[in-house]
Amino acid sequence: MRGDIGQLLFLIDTAYDHVSWHGTNLRGSLRGVTPKQAAWRPGPRRHNIWEIVVHAAYWKYVAWRRLTGAERGSFAEVGSNWFSRPEQMSLDAWKADVEMLGETHRALRDVVAAIEPRDLDRTMAKASRTTRRAIITGIAAHDIYHAGQIQLLKRLGRRV
């Protein structure tokens, strides 16, 4: 059913940047965040907002890669999962990483929109037996999980 694709697009869009009942989504949590705020850590070896942004972009890329069957290695950064930030403390560098997050979301969205509904519950050969539907549902939940953490980081960071 084509409506299934619409539901999944709704799910990933509201988790990322569309108006949502549940409150702040991932992109909304970044509104007005400065590079200094983004780089603040609540403690040693703890992730900052900036790193969460790149981490979220990476997992959107992984979802895209699994849905397309693309080979590994085409993410904009070398490495996987978590990436040390900031490399350069500047507004341009911060904006570039936020934009990378947006680009990976748009690429993922395009792939989801093009899925044939009959394939949604078929497993992906290269993705450890996970269905396309599960990949898409999972990445939406991942965005919101980290949005909640960014909201806490912003509040904690204001007090230092």
């Binding site: 070896r45 939940a141 999980y145």
Partner: protein, 185 residues
């Protein structure tokens, strides 16, 4: 056919397990400590998540999701709780959710329920609840990690372990991830 409902339920299970793996790492005295700057304690967030789930999913198809007996403001009040108190409250919310989900099929998704008298399609209600729950579980994990510091037991791919994990990703499915978390102490 319940693929859609099952995929939503699997994500709920994943985040329930994540929350529980974080809660297990906290000593009882830390459950009620407010977040730095007067934010919510872990206990307050658990009360809120569980209160929300219990209200939304008790008699899910036949009554409004915001129950008259729910006192949302009270969920955020300071409280001193034991692990047993916490578990009891937490499970009550999740039980209501999973009972409601078990009665649903994908054919029900376009039907409507009401929350605060506003009609809402069931698929939208499930999305909202999944988002609300994962948002706050992200905060529970964050606070638990903050409290535990260097003693924190990683709940996902451990630092430095990404390459090895990518070679053999065994915990991608929510159920597999949940089982991994349940084995952690």
């Amino acid at each position: 056919m319940s693929e859609y409902v099952q995929s939503i339920e699997a994500e709920f299970q994943r985040y329930k397990a994540l929350g529980e793996a974080a809660l297990r790492q906290l000593s009882e005295d830390l459950l009620s400590v407010p977040a730095s700057g007067g934010g919510n304690s872990v206990a307050a967030i658990v009360w809120h998540v569980a209160g929300n789930l219990e209200s939304r999913f008790t008699d899910f198809r036949t009554s409004d999701g915001e129950k008259a007996w729910r006192n949302r403001d009270e969920e955020f009040e300071a409280r001193s709780v034991t692990h047993a108190d916490l578990k009891e409250k937490w499970e009550r919310g999740w039980r209501a959710l999973f009972a409601a989900l078990s009665a649903l099929t994908d054919a029900d998704l376009q039907s409507t329920v009401t929350i605060r008298q506003q009609p809402l399609r069931i698929d939208e209600a499930l999305h909202r609840s999944l988002a609300h729950t994962t948002y706050h579980i992200g905060q529970i994990v964050f606070l638990a990690k903050q409290f535990r510091g260097e003693q924190w037991n990683c709940l996902s791919i451990p630092l430095g372990g990404s390459k090895a994990y990518n070679e053999a990703p065994r915990h991608e499915k929510p159920a597999a991830h949940s089982r991994l978390l349940e084995r952690q102490e």
